[in-house]
C-alpha cells in the first residue's frame, strides 16, 4: 500500500486523509470478471466451435469502437476510459448470450445499443440505469427474433469440423460452410424444446429423456452453466461480488420452479433443469450482479435477486421468448434505486435514539 502525495501538484489542491491506497482499480475488477468467465468460454468453445470465438471477436471490436466513438463525442478522455475494460465485459457477456456464429451486423447492432445507447447516452460507466449487455440483447431479441433463436446444435459434428475462417466466411458473407445449409446445424434450445413439447402435451419425464436435454438440463448448455458457476464462485471467493444476489436469484427460481414441479411434475420442469439451462448461472453470477444497475444494500440485493429469480421462471414458463434473463434483469434494474432507498442497513448505534439522531 503505497503512500500518496498530499498535495496534488497539478491542481494544487490539498489531498486529505487517508493517504493510503489499495491496489484495487476498476480495470482490475473488470479483468478479474473476464478471468472468471474464461472456464465458461472454454466449455462454450468445446460445445459450439469457432462460432463462439467469432461472436466474441466481433462483439469486443464493436464494443470498443462504439465506446471510443461515444467517449470522443462526449469529450471524455478516450484512452483512460477505454482502459477500464468495462466495455469488454459487456461485449463478452453479449457475445456469450447471442447464438454462436451470429452474423456480424447482429453483433454490431447489439453492441451499439448496449454501449452507445444503454451505457454512454446515460452518462457512461457508473451512470447507466440498465444493464448494457441485457439492453442490447433485448433490442436484438425484439428486432431479429429469427436470428436470435438460431442456436447451433451443441456438440454437433459439423460444427466441430468448421474451421475459424469458414466460420468467419459465414458470419460476414453468409457463405454456407462445407456446402451445408445452416438450418441443418441449428436446433431448438433445451428451453424452447421444453416449452413446445409441454404445450403439445408431452410430459416432463418424457422431455427429459430427449437427447436435447442432455444429462440434467440441456446437452452442452448444462456444462457451460456449470463452468459459469465455477467462475462465479471464484468471484465470490475474491469478494468481487457478494453472495446475496447469486443466492437469491437461484433461491427465487428454485423455490418457484420447485413448487410448481411438486404440484404437477409432468407439466413443470424441475428446479435443476431451470438452474442449469439457458443463461441462469450467467444471470445469477455475472449479469444480475452488475453493481452499477443492482441495489447496493444487502437487503436490497436479496429482494432484487429473489424477484429476478421469480421473473425468470414466470417469463420462461408463460412467456414466449427463448430465455427470460434479459427481461427479468431489465425489469428489476428499474427498481434498484427504490430498493436502495428503502433498505438502508441499520447503522452502528441506531435504534434507541434513532428518531432523535434523524431529526437532530
Amino acid at each position: 500500500m503505497p503512500l500518496q502525495q498530499s498535495t496534488n501538484r497539478q491542481s494544487g489542491n490539498i489531498v486529505s486523509a487517508p493517504f493510503i491506497e489499495s491496489g484495487q482499480s476498476i480495470s482490475g475488477v473488470m479483468r478479474q470478471v473476464i478471468y472468471a468467465l474464461l472456464p465458461a468460454l472454454v466449455v462454450a468453445f468445446y460445445c459450439f466451435g469457432w462460432g463462439i470465438i467469432t461472436n466474441l471477436i466481433i462483439a469486443c471490436a464493436g464494443a470498443l469502437a462504439w465506446e471510443s466513438l461515444m467517449l470522443y463525442l462526449r469529450n471524455r478522455p478516450v484512452t483512460s476510459y477505454i482502459m477500464d475494460t468495462s466495455a469488454l465485459v459487456t461485449a463478452i457477456l453479449l457475445g456469450m448470450a447471442l447464438p454462436p456464429m451470429a452474423p456480424w451486423w447482429l453483433l454490431l447492432t447489439g453492441t451499439f445499443f448496449a454501449i452507445a445507447v444503454a451505457k454512454q447516452l446515460y452518462g457512461g460507466l457508473g451512470y447507466n440505469a440498465l444493464n448494457p449487455a441485457m439492453a442490447g440483447y433485448a433490442v436484438l431479441l425484439i428486432s431479429f427474433p429469427r436470428e436470435m433463436s438460431a442456436w447451433l446444435t451443441p456438440l454437433a459434428l459439423p460444427v466441430a469440423e468448421l474451421g475459424f475462417f469458414e466460420t468467419m466466411a459465414w458470419v460476414f458473407f453468409e457463405e454456407p460452410p462445407n456446402d451445408v445449409a445452416l438450418d441443418t446445424l441449428t436446433s431448438a434450445t433445451p428451453l424452447d424444446y421444453l416449452r413446445t413439447e409441454i404445450s403439445r402435451g408431452v410430459s416432463f419425464s418424457e422431455v427429459r429423456l430427449s437427447p436435447v436435454v442432455g444429462v440434467i438440463a440441456g446437452k452442452g448448455v448444462e456444462w457451460i452453466n456449470l463452468a459459469v458457476l465455477l467462475g462465479g464462485l471464484w468471484l465470490c471467493y475474491k469478494r468481487l461480488i457478494t453472495w446475496h444476489i447469486p443466492v437469491s436469484v437461484l433461491v427465487g427460481l428454485g423455490v418457484l420452479s420447485g413448487a410448481f414441479h411438486l404440484y404437477a411434475s409432468e407439466r413443470f420442469a424441475d428446479p435443476v433443469f431451470h438452474m442449469f439451462s439457458g443463461a441462469t448461472m450467467l444471470c445469477a453470477f455475472f449479469i444480475a450482479t452488475d453493481p452499477v444497475t443492482a441495489p447496493a444494500t444487502p437487503l436490497g440485493k436479496l429482494i432484487y435477486g429473489l424477484l429476478i429469480g421469480l421473473l425468470i421462471y414466470i417469463i420462461r414458463t408463460w412467456g414466449g421468448y427463448p430465455d427470460a434473463v434479459a427481461f427479468a434483469v431489465l425489469l428489476m434494474n428499474f427498481t434498484a434505486p427504490l430498493l436502495d432507498q428503502y433498505t438502508q442497513p441499520r447503522i452502528y448505534g441506531a435504534g434507541k435514539r434513532n428518531g432523535r439522531a434523524r431529526n437532530g
Binding site: 489531498v15 486523509a17 493510503i20 452499477v292 444487502p298 437487503l299 447503522i347 439522531a357 434523524r358 437532530g360
Partner: protein
Amino acid sequence: MIKRILKKTLLQKPFLKKECKLHGGIKLQGFKSLSNAAAVQILSVPPQLIIPLKQHIGEAAKPIVNVGDLVYKGQIIAEPNGYISSPVHASSSGVVAAIEARPIPHASPIKETCIVIHTDRKDQWHPFVQSTPEPLALPPEDLRQRIRDAGIAGLGGAVFPSAVKLKPTSDITTLIINGVECEPYITCDDVLMRHHADAIIQGALLLARIVRPQKIIVAIEDNKPQAFQSVTNAINRLKAAGAAAANTIHAAQVPEIFPAGGEKQLIKVLTGKEVPSGSLPYELGIICINVGTTAAIYDALYKGQPLVSRIMTVTGEGLDAPGNYRVLLGTPIHYVLANAGVARQHNAEVIMGGPMMGVAIADHAAPVVKATNCLLIKNTRQIRQPPASMPCIRCGRCATVCPITLLPQQLYWHARSKEFDKLPAYHIDDCIECGCCQVVCPAKLPLVHYFRFAKSELKARERERKKADVSRLRNEARQVRSEKARIEQEERKARRKAARKQVITPETNPDQSTPDSLNASSLQGVAPEPQTHENTSMVKHEDQTKTMAR
C-alpha cells in the same frame, strides 16, 4: 413493519450474531516495526517554543502572561476559558517573546494565537510543581480538579479535555484504557506500554478512584504482544503487592483491524454494546481513555507535572532515526525533523497522525501540540501522485468495510450532486471519517473529502438557518412592536380628541367609553399575535427538519 421483520430475520440473526465483532473495517499493513524497537528518546529543548492557546477541543485558553515575562516549566501561561476548555502551560523555562498568530499544524497554512517563548535551555520547573506521595487518598473531586489544572486532554488525537470526560452524568461500570493504536506507523502507545506499563496501571487506578467503575479493561491490539505482556506483568505485580483494586483490572487483546481503536468501535469489540447514535459512551456506563492520557494523568497526580510534553512517533521509510521521542509541546516540527534525521531542505511531506486519519502539515514551522501523536514523513521515492478518479461503479465495497454500516456510495452520490438535504437521512453525521471506504474504492474516489465537505456545508446551512430564524423572529417582533406603538399613538390621539370633546361638550359622556373599549379590544387583538407568529414559525421549522429527515 415488514421491512423491520425482514431486516431482523434476514440480516441480524445469522450474520451479526458474533456480537463482539465489528462490522467492516480493514486490515492494513502496520509498518510498526520501523519505530517501535527502541525506548523513548528525549528530544532536546528547542531555542523557541510556540505554544498555541487552543490545543484541545473547546474554547481557546486566555493568556495570563505578558510579553517579556519570565516563565518556568509547568507554569500556567493561559487559563481555561469556560467549562470545556483547558489551561496551557509553559513547556520549558524562558522569556515570553511574543503573543501572536503563528502557523498551527493544519492542512492549510492558517495561523492562530500562540505564546512564543524563547527558552533559556535550563528547563527549570516552576517551584509549584511538587510531587504528591499518596494521591489515591485525595477526594475524587480534588483529583479531577488537578487533572483539569494540569491541562490534560485526550492524547490519542481527539484532545477532549479529560476532566470534562471524567464527570459523567451516569454511573460508570466499565473504564476502558485504550491502547489499541490501530493506525499504521504509529507506535507511541505501544512503546509507552512496553516501557511504562506501571505508570499506566497506576494512572488507571487514579481514574477508577474518580469514576468508580466495576472493572477496568486495558485494551491492546493483538499485534503488540510485548506491550500486552508488559501490561499483564504490571497488573500481576500489583496483585502480588496485594492491592485490592488489582482484581478489577485486566488486559484484553483485540483483533488487529482498523479502526478497532476508535472509541465507539472499541466499545463494540470489547462489550458488544453500541453507543447510541448521537450520544456519548458514558450513557452506557463506559468511559474510554487513551493509555498516553492515563500515563499523563499519573504524571500530573503523582509528580505534579502538568502536560508540557508528550511521546510521539517520528517515522517513515528511509528515515535516519525513526523512533519515539518525548517532545516538549510547542517544539517546531522542523526542529523535530532535524533531530530525527530529516534535513530541512529535504522538502519532505509530513503527516500529523497516521496515514488513515492524519493531516498533511502545510507549514513545518508549526509546533507540536497535544494532539501530535505521530509525524509521518514521506520520502520522495514513496510519494505517488494521487490516482485519477474514475466514476463510481457502485460496487459497494465501501459499504462492506464501513464500521458504522453506512452506505458511502449513496452519501457520495448525494454529496457530489450537492443534494445536502438528503444526507442526514443517510446518517452522514455518524461518519467517523476513518477512511476505510476510500482505501478500498476501486474508482479511487476521494470519498472522505466529499463527506467532510458535505458535513461542513450542512453545519454552515444549519447556522444560516438558525440565524435567519432569529432575524425573522426579531423582525416579526419589531413589526408587532411598531404596530402596538401605532395603535397606542392612535389611542392617545383619540383620547386627547375625546378629552377635547369632553371639555367642549361635557354632556357627551357616554361616548368616552367607545375609544377605550375599542383600544382594549384592539390591544387584546394584538397582544397574542407575537405568540401565534412564533407558533407558526416553529411549526414551519419542525416541518423543515422533518423533510430533511426524510
